[in-house]
Amino acid sequence: MKIAVISCIHGNYEALNEVLLDIDRHQVEQIYCLGDLVGYGPYPNAVVEMIRSLDIPTCQGCWDEDVVEGLNACECSYPSLLAEKRGRLAHEWTNQEIHPETRSFLAQLPLSLRDGNLCFVHGSPHSQHEYMLPDMHAFTAMERVLATGADTLFCGHTHIPYVRQLESGQLQVRVSSGQSSQRPNQQTSNFSAPLKRIVNAGSVGEPRHGRTNATYVLYDAETEQVTLREVEYDYQKTCAAIVEKGLPSIFAWRLARGLEFAERADDPTHVCER
């Protein structure tokens, strides 16, 4: 069985359209979507409508959650003050723009999807906001996959596509219980895990690899082969719509250069201390 996995469309209808055409040429049996249908881009309603009409199983992204729940992410989840201001502008614009049926569609999206030994999430199994970057500590990465019970974990959110093999081997987990820091009760358990894999699907609508092309992945369940697809689309149309619909024109300038609009996280282990 062949599947296609798309993520992070961010209201970029032109990019989604071109990616769906590309998927059509590869005879896949199923498409999965990892969320972030809205945010930054000019066509949140049209993107949701398309995903909905094609009945594509989709999990909820960080932007989808924020639009439904209101912006409650801590400001440290932005890499800079400027990114935060821009993120807020995009959030407010999207919040005004989306139709009630778009909002209710986003609200009912599940946090994860499962298909045999494959699991699909937006950020990580623990949160839509957690970044699993390619250089995440191997132990942490393995924990994330094991948490799902699946062998292959598909994620998005970082906008950088990658495939990572986690070799089987002995893992040692030390679990501390009790509050006292002087003499914690420590339990050590050993277990071996079979080969696990993390596949990041990149981003359809807000690619972050220095080129303007949309990215997504194809997965062949028989051969377990992952193919990273890069698809050209008419980004200038999206850029024109960004300006026309009253979004900050710097979003268009950045999109045209293969730069993320604002969001970027370099430190996946960052924990809010404020």
Binding site: L82, A83, S249, I250, R254
Partner: protein
């Protein structure tokens, strides 16, 4: 009549006037510097003062004539000052006139005006740039990651075609940074000024920015820079963090 050890330095933006003056100051003493035409946005003066601590910097056209006898003085003329209509005290009539020009240019008003032509850096900046935008930022502290983003956008044309940009910015960890860009220069520079870290409240030393170019979206530049600035509460929080970090070594 008394003569004064005075050098006037002129030239187009980005040719290297300040760099040339900086070179003259090496190893010598009793130098003074005045930047004519930069008004409140004293980027060059602040940069030189940090680089050469012994330098006396006059911040406006105020020194008494007698002061000019005490120092070897360099007066940098801002590029938008019209040399033809510049009127100096008669005592300065025989001062030294230096024009710092990019290689290969001929027959300009600088050639008529100067005693000495110094060949500066190659630049793609037009000799008479169409637009100049300046902003005083004194008191403002910027988030470093935001600053590098906006600077990158600025020099790569997000807010119009920039030919020359320079600025002194205060950042969250208390440092004062000097950013310098000339179109055609492959490596835009940024350096840390040799000034003490400012970690208590808003800095009351100079910071500011100057942009020269075409079709500059001045409103967007100003707004974006504002978006990089910390409010009082956030500034106090980070300054305390940095103080604690530095105390812990």
């Amino acid at each position: 009549m008394q003569t004064f050890p005075l050098t006037l330095v002129a030239g187009p933006p980005g040719a290297g006037k300040t760099t040339w003056i900086r070179q003259q100051l090496d190893g010598a003493e009793r130098f003074a510097y005045l930047n004519l035409g930069a008004d409140a946005v004293r980027i060059d003066a602040t940069y030189l003062a940090a680089e050469v601590p012994e330098l006396v910097v006059w911040s406006s056209w105020l020194p008494e004539l007698a002061d000019f006898t005490k120092y070897q003085t360099y007066i940098e003329l801002d590029f938008h000052i019209d040399l033809g209509s510049l009127v100096l005290p008669t005592e300065f009539a025989d001062c030294h006139r230096v024009a710092v020009l990019p290689p290969g240019i001929r027959q300009t008003e600088w050639h008529d005006w100067a005693d000495v032509i110094v060949t500066g850096t190659e630049t793609r900046v037009p000799l008479q740039p169409p637009q100049l935008w300046r902003s005083l930022l004194t008191g403002q502290v910027l988030d470093f990651a935001s600053l590098t983003t906006v600077w990158d956008e600025l020099i790569n044309g997000a807010y119009g075609h920039v030919q020359r940009a320079k600025g002194i910015f205060e950042v969250t960890d208390g440092r004062s940074l000097y950013f310098d860009f000339v179109a055609g220069d492959p490596e835009p520079t940024s350096t840390e000024l040799d000034l003490p870290r400012w970690l208590e409240g808003r800095p009351n030393r100079f910071s500011g920015v100057e942009v020269v170019g075409e079709q500059l979206d001045e409103t967007a530049i100003a707004q974006t820079l504002k978006d990089c600035c910390l409010d009082d509460r956030t500034l106090a929080y980070y300054q305390q963090q940095v103080r604690e970090f530095l105390e812990d070594g």
